[in-house]
Assembly symmetry: C2
Homo-oligomer: 205 residues x 2
């Protein structure tokens, strides 16, 4: 099992080598990878060696080897299918953000309760009635749900996603959701990002 810190570093290494491969770079030293991702060369070597990407002393690591090793680890060998519940301001921003797609995450269905939104396709994503979650998610093999509804609605849509077989929930609503132990929950709280920025400005960080 990896720590969350390790996973974040591996994601950054992966994205870095992915760009380098596109630019035609076949080899990278731990110093260069460290500099591009903001970690120390020692940390980079420790992480890569631990996960089986062996480097050549004095030369570095083959970018395609690093990519292969990390691809498996990060589950990138297959597309990850996502359902979005709540197609409001935040939901629309999530639907239109090109990065998810670029990193292998595909929002394949939206769910809402507003009649003006249901039955339409936004950026190629069909919006279903929220009552259809349990029918549509298994059909489309959705394994992760984005909860972007108002706080009072979040628990019930999360329950519906779980009944539909979803294994992971990314929650944006400002409430503590309760999920069964086999379901993974990640909360996004942008005010925490503001707090960290504020601490940096205060000089504490």
């Amino acid at each position: 099992k990896l720590s969350i810190g390790t996973v974040e570093r591996l994601i950054h290494y992966y994205r870095c080598v992915e760009e380098l491969i596109i630019e035609g770079q076949t080899c990278i030293s731990s110093e260069e990878l460290a500099e591009k991702t903001g970690y120390t060369p020692a940390q980079v070597r420790k992480d890569l060696t631990w996960h089986g990407a062996l480097g050549v002393p004095g030369k570095g690591y083959a970018t395609d080897v690093v990519q292969q090793v990390l691809r498996k680890l990060l589950g990138k060998h297959r597309p990850r299918l996502v359902g979005l519940v709540g197609v409001g301001h935040l939901g629309l921003a999530l639907l239109r953000h090109p990065d998810f797609h670029k990193h292998g995450f595909h929002i394949v269905a939206g769910f809402d309760k507003e009649l003006t939104k249901i039955g339409h396709s936004i950026d190629g994503v069909y919006i279903y009635d929220v009552s259809q979650i349990e029918k549509v998610c298994p059909l489309l093999k959705i394994e992760m749900g984005l909860v972007a509804v108002p706080p009072l609605e979040a628990q019930k849509v999360s329950d519906a996603l779980i009944r539909a077989g979803v294994l992971g929930i990314l929650n944006f609503a400002a409430v503590r959701l309760s999920v069964p132990s086999h379901v993974h929950l990640e909360n996004v709280d942008l005010s925490i990002e503001l707090e960290k920025l504020s601490c940096r400005i205060e000089g504490w960080l």
Copy 2:
């Protein structure tokens, strides 16, 4: 200087004791605080003692003492004023999210370039023309900026915020911004949250 991990824990302790104080609880043990925040009691004790919140063995910590100590550290003794650039889908979701306000962050101005948005007030926040950033931010004492514009516009709005005296930028656009060394930059990349969730589902985390 604190590590980012420590700052995140302190933020969670602060929010926890804030709720307890509202509920009238005057004392909390490290076990209870650990359980409510998801850390270990040993970590809680180490963090609080290090920062001057002394506990009574066998009894715990006075919630108001913990709040005072952390309040200073986290810069919460004063409101933190924020400007939002880009009042699109993401920008509107940020404007309407009640939590920022609750944690002492006040979005006091919005900036956009679309004529249909400029000159209006949304949820009590006036939307200025983006060309007014350098005039308005110092006047309103804005110290942090939220960059929620399309990727190709992000560097130039960030430059304008910096010329206006902003010390911290929270960037949502999928580009690497370049800022001078006295300015703090925090990037929000929700696809990283999806990656972490995916790793949890894969069982790696």
